[in-house]
Symmetry: C2
Subunit: 492 residues, 2 copies
């Protein structure tokens, strides 16, 4: 199977597209730019959802659900937000089809069923949610309001790629309302940290925490915090964002509260989201030329057991041992698959589970039965080891933890060796062209310089890292003064 996968070194982009389809994660649908998330891909997304949802609830948030549609007049209320999304909106204009009399058996839009006001399919839900919050918030006692929504959103992108950029995608969007600026800022930072925790400890992807420049900020936000990851091809990927909205949406939708002192004040807001785009980050951080490599914490199947047999009788004996092992591993909460298909050879199965990224494979053959052993292979390093039956459960439990850690460390090493400090624009271009990764450079702080660098190199400022040191220097482009470095990169 793996033979058919394009190699990363040959064409990284093609490798990615093929892998997503061949590993049964997703495929393009008949609807332009919309994807079908297949059961195996969806199972990974479900594991992500479950963990994130838990983390949101532990930090005091509740889920709710708001309408798919936003009336145009509501959509345009917060002008910057509207401007930011207007160019990529799906618009519902009619509410009925009728028989097309010129084409029997076919339908046409009924011109008599035109909506009085067009409805926008939500590209994000600030507008509809803040128009609702207006009725929910009267007093400081109603604050903070800490709500999350799991939903689909639509952004009419012209160039789409599975998971990374699709017209419809799945995501969660948190929308919170607070009495004070400081509280809203704390929430924004808290959620960035929740995302970083999740992406690092469950997805095994190291991230840089930072804030976006004005150019890259969410339309309608005062400040956008982000976590940025680095893919194997040296391009950056924005893995999650958390926005401090100031009082922008409260102003636009007239959301005020009576403070403890009896004064009327505008509410402070935040919003934050991660999407099925994280699936793209997961694939591109860890996978190799043989297929997916999944971190144990998110793998739908953590251990696959493959029997090696020549007769029914052998299979029966192996099944007995495999069932016992499965049972013990399931007791630890692990998800196990025993691949006892008789239609496929072991080599085919090995390649298939490698393609699908199952972290640990146990092979059991007649010799193992004799010797009381199992052959245990790990997907990330492709190394194998023979382990005594008695020690297997503890060995696997330990191995899964080790894999999780080592996948993170491997990605961290790669990321760390791909943050390059440069001090001239020539060095800057050289690194971008020949090495890739994050380029740490001085920038004069103006949108104009940022824009020009983007035009010339396609690199954008991924973030101003939160942990950057103060350091006086000169902008690599304009030569003007700067007091700290920012991270540039080409990005997904």
């Amino acid at each position: 199977m793996s033979k058919n996968l394009t190699k990363r070194a040959d064409d990284y982009s093609k490798w990615y597209n093929e892998l997503v389809v061949k590993a049964d994660l997703a495929e393009n649908s008949a609807v332009r730019g919309c994807m079908v998330i297949k059961p195996y891909g969806y199972a990974i997304w479900e594991k992500m959802q479950a963990q994130l949802d838990k983390m949101f609830k532990e930090t005091g948030h509740s889920n709710a659900y708001f309408p798919l549609f936003v009336p145009k007049s509501m959509f345009e209320a917060e002008e910057k937000n509207a401007e930011g999304f207007a160019k990529e909106c799906a618009v519902v204009t009619h509410y009925r089809l009728k028989n097309d009399e010129e084409r029997p058996g076919k339908l046409m839009v009924d011109p008599n069923a035109k909506l009085e006001e067009e409805l926008i399919v939500r590209p994000t839900s600030e507008a509809i949610i803040w128009s609702t919050y207006k009725n929910w918030i009267q007093s400081y006692r109603d604050l903070p309001l800490l709500i999350n929504q799991w939903a689909n959103v639509v952004r009419w992108e012209m160039r789409t790629r599975l998971f990374l950029r699709t017209a419809e995608f799945l995501w969660q969007e948190g929308h919170t309302a607070h009495a004070t600026k400081q509280e809203a800022l704390n929430e924004t930072v808290q959620m960035m940290n929740v995302y970083a925790d999740f992406v690092e400890n469950f997805m095994a992807i190291p991230v840089v925490k930072g804030v976006k420049t004005a150019n890259e900020r969410f339309a309608g936000a005062e400040e956008t915090f982000c976590i940025e990851a680095l893919m194997q091809d040296g391009k950056a990927l924005q893995a999650g964002t958390s926005h401090f909205l100031g009082q922008n949406f409260a102003n636009a939708f007239d959301v005020k509260f009576t403070s403890a002192e009896g004064k009327q004040e505008y509410v402070w807001g935040t919003s934050w989201g991660v999407s099925t785009r994280l699936m793209g980050a997961l694939i591109m951080t860890h996978s190799d030329d043989n297929g997916l490599v999944l971190p144990p914490n998110l793998a739908p199947i953590q251990v696959v057991i493959v029997p090696i047999f020549k007769s029914e009788e052998e299979l029966e004996k192996i099944t007995e041992v495999a069932d016992e092992l499965s049972k013990s591993l399931r007791k630890l909460g692990l998800s196990i698959k025993f691949d006892n298909r008789t239609t496929q050879k072991p080599g085919f199965k090995f390649a298939e589970w490698e393609l699908k990224g199952v972290p640990v494979r146990v092979a059991i053959g007649p010799k193992d039965l004799e010797n009381g052993t199992f052959e245990i292979a790990r997907r990330d390093t492709l190394s194998k080891q023979v382990v005594n039956k008695d020690q297997t459960v503890a060995f696997i439990e330990n191995l899964l933890e080790e894999i999780q850690k080592e996948m993170f460390n491997k990605a961290l090493d790669f990321r760390n060796t791909h943050i390059t400090e440069v001090n001239t624009f020539d060095e800057f271009k050289d690194i971008l062209d020949n090495k890739g990764g994050f380029v740490s450079a001085h920038w004069d702080g103006t949108p104009e310089t940022e824009e020009k660098i983007k035009e010339l190199t396609k690199a954008t400022i991924r973030c101003i890292p939160l942990d950057r040191k103060e350091e006086n220097g000169n902008c690599i482009f304009s030569g003007n003064a700067s007091n700290g470095r920012v991270l540039f990169a080409k990005a997904y």
Copy 2:
């Protein structure tokens, strides 16, 4: 609080609408016909989802996700299905807004961004899913395909009511493909049984299992199985449907497979769904003039603890005891709330948690501290009891089970006393007008008679019960021969 709730006997419909809003379950949004599901309502829906999802997975199904939009040409491929949904479709015709030059700061649909082909917002996903299945199914080895999707759908209903009938609603839709007719039929029946199991054992609502008449069948199905519940006002509510699709969608989308014998055959299909409409059934089956009554298996808060105190010092002592109790109850997996607000009096809190349907309330006052007791009240019967501290955990655990059972039994008694056999059309009308409930009557089997009865009485055939006895009789309307009774009712 409860004082403000309209009484069921005065105006059942008003009582329902008020209760949904006052108990913080849902509210109407600014978008015509679309609702906002509020955190408390959504928490109940999440519990339903979790349980159903578990049951779907236990019966071998996987989740996946298909596009929100269906191109018009694909939508119209299965003619009956298209005809059934054409009149209530939201249609996307454009993909961009632009600045409206006549109204500065406002937006308009960009006439240059008209889609070549209109997109229908899915009212149900058979079309998009079967067009996908065509590529997934080649051989009998690819079957059965057992997939479920959790999604939002849109049906442009003209008269909407929170949860019961909304333009957008949340649901799950299972779509399965099989090699044989019998296997597809078995799946259809299995899923009806899964729904019945869930609705009876988690929602505590008894259901009648049956099949729909041709008039009431899902557009595009060969047979629709259903579970029908009875509300307190004597109206029926269809709680779930499971459709045997025959080869209709396989024909429409040319989905064939090579059988084990090497022949090309069309695939057999099923689809099945339940929606946020179940929330309406839950509310209308159990709740009373004081508010919601929730079955313990679905209550987001199962036990609320209310301290009764006059001083900080008393509250502190009660808190200590309450924390201990909470801890012991949480160990049993129960969800507990300690309502220690100092801004509200106990009476206010009692009314609030009654309104919200929390199954068990524990009150702790200074006297209880002295005597080592708790006052335990159950929401369904509004009865109270003083229990010794040592016995409380076991008492509550047992009480929750008892409440779950008794709520079901109460609803079952009501339902059973509201199935009335009649043999004449006069009796039929009399029961509908004066007693309500299901009316069990002979029917001649023709759509014409069914239609006329509906015109005259607003009653429809809810189902032909699966367990009906053979019994010769005469149609109450036409007098023609019939070999068994069907269940009529006015319905939501």
